[in-house]
Amino acid sequence: MVKRTLSEKLSILSDAAKYDASCASSGGERRDSRDGKGLGSAGGSGICHAYAPDGRCISLLKILMTNFCIYDCAYCINRASSRVERARFSVEEVVSLTVEFYRRNYIEGLFLSSGIIRSPDDTMADMVRIARTLREQEGFRGYIHLKTIPSASQELLDEAGRWADRLSINIEMPTEQSLSRFAPEKSAKGIRKSMADVRLRREASREGPTFRGKRPAKFAPAGQSTQVIVGADGADDRTILTQSSSLYASYGLSRVYYSAFSPIPDPAKALPLKAPPLVREHRLYQADWLLRFYGFGVEEIGGRSGMLDLEIDPKTAWALEHRERFPVDVNRASREDLLRVPGFGTKTVGRILAARRRGLVRYEHLKAMGAVLKNAKPFIIAGGWSPRGMLEAEALRARFAPQPEQMALF
């Protein structure tokens, strides 16, 4: 094989990594290099150093160690049967790219994933070696996210969690059946077992609670995450969200990422030719937030069809379906009820509750508290405001849905 330059390898192996949505670099252990003996800092809120024209942020050097792979997952550009160009980085190349990019303030750290070469253990061992070299040899204190390889050995997982801030393993599909159909070599049970292992290790590394709450975990301090591909199989949104809520409850995941299936060069025949609308991905994230921070249950989201409304965000859609629960009086309602008002975020609700103690909350105060009144207006009562007939109006939905486009006249 021809020897590739570093630039060629970077081009191939970052192109191959772009279908992973995660770019988080926040949370975890606080570190810095003020002592002058190392490089980097981490633990605050993450920073997006650039944005690509696809609207996604670039926060980490997101690359594959290699895109050679013995697995044949239909949705993946790097599957064994694909004729994509292949390359492989050496440990030193990844380390040097990470450090040089980091020193120039291009990135927050490294997100390393890999195709599976020879065996899961061999692959994982190489990835762990990269993380170790960065930490021990380069004194790198920036962020490291390692994608763990299913069914790699326990010792390698132990070491990976010691060097990395975050570990992740992709669940890939909304159901076990889809996974075995599209990724015959992967096992949903094996993937869930890996997540369980990470959770147990994180808990074991906390060394007991302190007076001020839980100690941060030393093992993968920034937690674990996963990704599910949307639109490659026939699963509806409720199935996807049901899986997510079960994963959040079971393994303490920091995030589930939803990646709208993107038609890739050389698509395998098992896949649909058309991509799902990107807005579906967006609605899933919104619904995911409602599940985690707004007290919604899976059964409440998605209406009768099990699919999220693409035109209206899920919270407004829910409110329109449950008009009998509105208007909500901002001066009296419980936190739970306030959280259900479209246009009120968790911060706004916190501010309303605080302001209520000082005196009557008036309509004109709400904007300064962060409420989006355009959305909230029909659903609330506040000092000096009542929605009157707005809530019953037939046309209420039309306020939120995008304007229908008029057909061109011939």
Partner: protein
């Protein structure tokens, strides 16, 4: 009318000093004209004459003494002061006057901090937020270029144009992050310099950018490759990376070309498909992988059974949980203990009886003289049934259908282990073993028979003991449970 001129570097610290001194003198906010760098032409400033100050403040001993004492009179919360000082970096010409006014008003109790209905508070909060955003963008978009170094530390330099003068507030972050190298961040007004671990600020002298760095080509390669042409969202990009920053970002020059060619690239992808390998080749690849990943078939019958249990999909429980939790213990155990179903801990660990209820069982077994290591422990239902609630899993009792499905596996397990006695703990185990889960309270301690005639001793599930709120009752029940375990040990011994 007083006129205060603040220096361009360390402006905020100087403002704080001046504000204290003015407050100590009792100067009202409307009597002060603030400016940075040089004196503005203000007709009224000179006209008021008298106490007006121009240029730097006199540093006489009595002035400094006044300044010291002033701290006692001005009382402002740390949070408020932090926001006010942050807002001072804003380019709004009114910022110093507003800050001084607000400090006086807050100190006098004329306004509460955080009251967004107040104009000054709101303006300060909004400005502080704008500065926060500006600093955040600075942390994101500064691009260092390597420059020749004098000593052993590598040296880097950057040119950056923030919207406001946030250099002094924004650069300590870089000192923490890039502690092992020397760097300079120059902006149109102030330059931050970090050398040998010391951060200092000075007025910017030269507006020159540092020369190009070879690594920028690699960075551009990365930027172009990580972009997915199948989803162009220029608006989303520009919202987060506004065009005003582009001129100092090495990657930004690629954007127009990437956007222009995206559609053609997607079309090309669709047209050049399909280019998979021929099916026969794919099949042989899969074959190799399968062989490589295949796990060895377990040698013992129980191991083979557990593997089958692991692949069971007769009900939906195991697909939601991590997986089936097999039984554990000697394959020829005289005593088999059967619980209800694995719980949260058991599911995570993949082993039975390791959670809170399992610990109760272990503890009481030891107290009852039952050799825990000699017991084969398993569950009536092999998967953990739960309802997700936030970050927790709430245990759900398996229904009759699920118990019946899993009974198949329990029966096979019994046939392989052939225990002399089975200890059934709780209603679900009783149901799976004897066909009825009713009246455990009455039936406990008695010996019944499983379908094949094996004696079954029934007792409560250890988790029941954990749920009893009344301490005396819990102790009494635990005592009875221990008694049942002791009986089980005795009977199993006598039958073995």
């Amino acid at each position: 009318m007083r006129q205060v001129i603040l220096p361009r570097v360390h402006t905020v610290a100087a403002w704080r000093r001046e504000a204290r001194a003015l407050a100590a003198e009792g100067v009202p906010a409307e009597d002060v004209i603030w400016s940075v760098g040089e004196a503005p032409r203000d007709l009224f400033a000179g006209a008021s004459g008298g106490g007006g100050r121009t240029g730097a403040l006199p540093r006489t001993p009595e002035y400094l003494a006044r300044e010291e004492g002033a701290g006692d009179r001005l009382r402002v919360s740390r949070k408020a002061l932090d926001s006010i000082e942050s807002a001072l970096c804003h380019s709004d010409p009114e910022r110093f006057g507003r800050g001084y006014r607000l400090v006086l008003r807050l100190s006098a109790g004329a306004v509460t901090w955080g009251d967004r209905a107040d104009r000054d508070v709101r303006a300060v909060l909004e400005h502080a937020m704008a500065i926060g955003r500006d600093i955040h963008k600075m942390h994101a978009f500064v691009r260092f270029r390597e420059v020749p170094a004098d000593g052993p530390r590598r040296a880097f330099a950057a040119w950056f144009e923030p919207e406001h003068n946030c250099v002094e507030r924004g650069t300590p972050f870089f000192a923490k992050r890039f502690g092992d190298m020397d760097w300079v961040i120059a902006t149109p007004s102030v330059t931050a310099r970090f050398e040998g671990g010391r951060l200092s600020f000075e007025e910017t002298v030269s507006q020159q950018r540092p020369p190009e760095d070879a690594t920028e080509d690699l960075w551009r390669t990365y930027y172009a490759s990580i972009f997915n042409p199948a989803r162009v969202m220029v608006k989303a990009m520009c919202a987060e990376m506004p065009k005003k920053y582009w001129k100092n970002l090495p990657e930004a020059e690629l954007i127009p070309g990437l956007v222009r060619d995206a559609e053609a690239r997607v079309r090309e992808m669709a047209e050049t498909a399909p280019a998979s390998m021929p099916d026969r080749r794919t099949e042989s690849l899969r074959e190799t992988t399968r062989a490589l990943l295949a796990e060895a078939e377990p040698q013992d019958a129980l191991g083979r059974l557990n593997r089958q249990i692991g692949a069971c999909a007769r009900c939906g429980i195991c697909a939601q949980a991590t997986g089936a939790v097999p039984g554990e213990g000697p394959a020829d155990a005289a005593l088999m203990a059967v619980g209800e179903q694995p719980g949260d801990r058991e599911d995570l660990a993949g082993r039975p009886f390791v959670g809170p209820a399992g610990q109760v069982f272990d503890r009481e077994a030891q107290a009852a003289g039952l050799d825990r290591a000699a017991v084969y422990v398993t569950n009536a239902v092999k998967g953990f049934k739960f309802a997700p609630r936030g970050k927790r899993r709430i245990h759900q009792r398996p229904d009759a259908g699920e118990v019946a499905h899993c009974r198949w596996w329990l029966d096979l397990e019994r046939q392989l282990v052939r225990p002399k006695l089975i200890l059934g703990m709780g209603a679900t185990a009783a149901e799976a073993l004897t066909g009825s889960g009713r009246d455990i309270g009455r039936r406990r301690g008695r010996i019944e028979e499983a379908s094949d005639g094996t004696p079954v001793l029934l007792t409560v599930h250890p988790s029941y003991l954990l749920r009893l709120p009344d301490r005396a009752r819990a102790e009494a029940e635990t005592e009875r449970f221990r008694g049942d375990l002791a009986a089980a040990a005795r009977i199993a011994d006598s039958l073995a």
